[in-house]
Symmetry: D2
Subunit: 332 residues, 4 copies
């Protein structure tokens, strides 16, 4: 790609869409030519959007001159937009859940509806950037991972891939997220009085990111419990792993260091613990491995910004790769 690229954003009124617009406003070579929403009257636009483009009603013709489109729509709503964009030959990063599960039946079971475009599933590349960089570069459609799967898999996948985890052992992923993950629409769950000075687990045993995590990890023995933190953005996963015989916490740490040696957005700690406020408003993922104090057990912690690396940041990384741009453009 020579010079600048033209970018459209669909679904710009939510937290993720707005975060993406902020990133695009700092991007050196991307021009936002269309910002559209399928719910134009949903929320009055804030007085000063980070980019100058107005938020318009959805108009697929406006995709004709764009190089890439981000879809920040709810699950189920992305598929027809993907189909339209595929036909126009545009690069697509879909931030919804529609193309994350490769299996049609799993989608139906998890999201309670038939998959709206099963014929496209095979073409979708799972956008966990650091692990599928080559596939993403040549993809036309990237399914941007969920925030929880991103956080867990960045830490866990290298250990699984390198056989550092005891086979058949149960893995526990105890995750805590800021409330922005629940979206902008006011409700009983994100009203201030229900969030501030409160904490709870939710979706125990049934959260929709569970199947996505297990699919990507390649094992069904992952217990995943999300919790709601009394804060706005950022996420921490505490992952409890039984090591394979003969492996140590140092081995696990070394593995992460090697896997991410060239990954600018993943920082592996030598000592100390990740803190959410070190990754907020960034695209970083911070990882640490510590001895659990119990024979053969390690504690793997991972912190990301759920709106950054967990959504808009990773989406930008993926689009950069798909368009042949510098992977870090707009993100550092």
């Amino acid at each position: 790609v020579n010079g600048t690229v033209n970018i459209a954003v669909i679904g710009a009124t939510g937290y993720t869409g707005q975060e993406l617009l902020k990133i695009l406003a700092r991007h050196p070579t991307a021009t936002v030519t269309a910002v559209m929403t399928a719910r134009p009257n949903h929320t009055p636009p804030p007085p000063a959007l980070p980019v100058d483009a107005p938020v318009d009603p959805l108009d697929l013709d406006r995709l004709d001159d764009v190089d890439g489109v981000f879809l920040c729509t709810p699950h189920g709503a992305a598929a027809p937009l993907v189909q339209a964009a595929m036909q126009k030959g545009i690069k697509i990063v879909d931030l919804s859940a529609d193309f994350r599960l490769q299996d049609q039946a799993a989608y139906q079971q998890t999201y309670g509806q038939e998959h709206p475009a099963p014929e496209l599933l095979a073409q979708a590349v799972y956008g966990l950037t650091e692990h599928y960089r080559a596939e993403i570069r040549s993809a036309q459609l990237v399914a941007n991972p969920g925030c929880y799967p991103t956080c867990i898999l960045l830490g866990l996948k290298p250990l699984l891939d390198h056989n550092l985890v005891a086979p058949d052992a149960t893995i526990v992923a105890d995750c805590k997220s800021g409330v922005s993950g629940a979206g902008k629409q006011p409700g009983d769950r994100n009203v201030y009085g229900a969030v501030a000075q409160n904490f709870l687990a939710y979706g125990v045993g049934s959260h929709r990111h569970g199947p996505e995590i297990r699919q990507q990890a390649g094992t069904d023995r992952i217990v995943f419990v999300p919790h709601l933190l009394p804060m706005f953005r950022g996420m921490l996963a505490t992952i409890y792993v039984s090591l394979a015989a003969g492996s140590t916490a140092d081995d696990a740490r070394s593995c992460l260091r090697e896997v991410y040696a060239n990954a600018d957005f993943v920082r592996v700690y030598d000592r100390g613990q990740p803190e959410v406020n070190r990754v907020q408003h960034t695209n970083y993922a911070d990882l640490a491995v510590a001895d659990a104090g119990v024979e053969g057990q390690v504690v793997l912690t991972a912190a990301i910004d759920n709106l950054g690396k967990g959504a808009a940041g990773q989406a930008m990384q993926n689009m950069n790769l798909m368009l042949g741009l510098d992977e870090e453009a707009g993100l550092s």
Copy 2:
């Protein structure tokens, strides 16, 4: 005990001491006759303490006419006060860590100093009220449990006692606490900018409550990781348990219901999840068991107020029992 009882509080300037004074102010038959601190100039007293008694420098003679004394002093400092009070025949609830570990060597290893009064260890009763009620009633010295051990053990101990947990399986206790657990003394860890909109694990594999939890649970295979919540008070433990063969989540829930059938301060949920804001400013412990979505695994959640049931509330419960009063006095 006929009529009212006289109570002394030593170490009244911290969060726990102040919470205790609030409880005592509502107590129908307890009179606070002495509020003392070993650090009288440490913090200027707030303009309106919940009880009228002034905060005085430490004076052991003032224990002569009291029936019970609460020690809210730092670990290591409680032992000489306990010795003095024992000699006076006073009932003692020690909220410090000095008498929680029954083993002298474990104390030294955990707290980095020789135990200051090993000869008293055998007399100390562990004050997990609902589980040691009879022993507490006849004790002169009760070691009030740590907040994390209270939260974890109330949920876990019944399942262990009734053989519902798979033998030799690792148990994970992922705990999250409000920052009041770190005390009132300002430092890098509890300054507002380090807590608000932040979240992190700490003391991974090395927290001092680990040995206490394992001693009381009777197993070394408990991984315990505490985290710091961006809120003031309250705590949630998410406990991951492999069930014994043939046992189910329903069995675990029924077990808790039976064990706590007559425990007014423990509420076992049929459905839904405990939330910290339902137990704040109370002496309640809320428990739930849910299927983990992975064969043979359950998720046990427990919420308490770390300053309430996790400290001052349980201390009051214990003192009530020791003095022959209504267990709930001052607490409901």
Copy 3:
């Protein structure tokens, strides 16, 4: 009244109604015999209400055996309930705005609708307890003041009544409230992401409490601006007063001390400033007067809990007086 009194609460699902139930649960001589809501399906009841009475649909027959009823309904909805209760001869504390403004036209202008029961306006006593104690004792209908008027008037009214304020000078009342004042219904204004780490003025020049404040203060020259604090409960008013010629900050402070000498719930500071966390979960109002650093100007600060002294607490105080009970019952 001999023995216990029977109390009904209508509109029990909001923050104010729940606070009132907590107070009533601690009340030594009040029995809650009916908890009703006109919106029974509005919000699922929390798992553990502070009192045992179920929340039932509205049924006016259940008022037959009660001595007093609290109305926690929205403005406009209280009037028919007041009419029904008046006919039954029951004591009524109306926490809505329906009877706060004595003037029918002012009501219509402020609330955008005709007054639903103008014939009752003359019987309503304004429930600023410390200032209208005698009238409240003999009233059948008390209009419980708004939270902002309570906070401002407790500080300002004594200075106006004792001619310590410069005639014709503009008085500024800059007020800041926790978000619970906006109610429990989720919306764009009280969703967590709009409140936490944010602050703003609202209703500048147009807030509905403005006419109520000016009516009670007896002057039109009060500029009142409310702000939304990133916290749940509690309120502070900073009131800027030009003193009458010859008067000093000490005079103003002495005036407050004398006026509130026998008022157990009003604390006048000698030095230092009120803090909202000293009045949260209480019925206290904390007041201070400080020199403004500009000739003839003083700064009067007042802190209350908007759900306590600003709503449910003062309502309880008023009901206690109306029923001949101890004014402090349930509140200390």
Copy 4:
């Protein structure tokens, strides 16, 4: 200046210094060649500073090759550094209070010590960028304004300069700041338990920014009261102004629009109110004028980020002007 400029930062461990390093890391033509602190062991450096330069102990020789230096030191400590830098001919932005007051006696009275370098006072330009742009461009030493003065003066100064304020009327500036304004050093005032869910006025009639505000406004009749918000960063000033006879809120708004027509960082609202979360992490100042609901009175509101436009952002603006760079470099 051709190509890049070399920049030093002294006092890099506090919130302001770190904010400045973040801004400099995004600056297109500035290179940070020295990051020094006079308290090298004060706080352990965070694991990932926003710029790569290490934090070194103070060494004045390292100023030899820099074009500009930022001083983020406490008041009293800046003067000797200013003297050294002046002799080296370096451009200096001093973020401390040492050169904000033009009058030596006022400094002594306000800061309780003799001015450390009175001979330099005449050379210091007050860095309220939008109002002293020409002077700043040619200055060698800029005294960066305090956060409260910046917030208040951006709104108030145009109205005073254009005679829209009633002569001799008292002006009230009620200000609310996030706790980061109190600095990073832990203490009783910024510990989490004292800030969260709390609110209070402080420094009533005596805050050190009062003389600075009055000096710049050219009137002694400004009552200034700061308050501490339960949040980290950002600030709102609510300013109560009696208009000059014949003037209206519209006149005041038009005046602000004209004065700031070419000021990219000042946004004047047509309607609605500034919110702190729209200016956090930016260099914007948002202003609004509203009718107060009382004859002749308007309410002027101003929001800034106390660490941005109120400190590091404005400092960068000033340095850009002093070095002949684009005023917005690093800030948009």
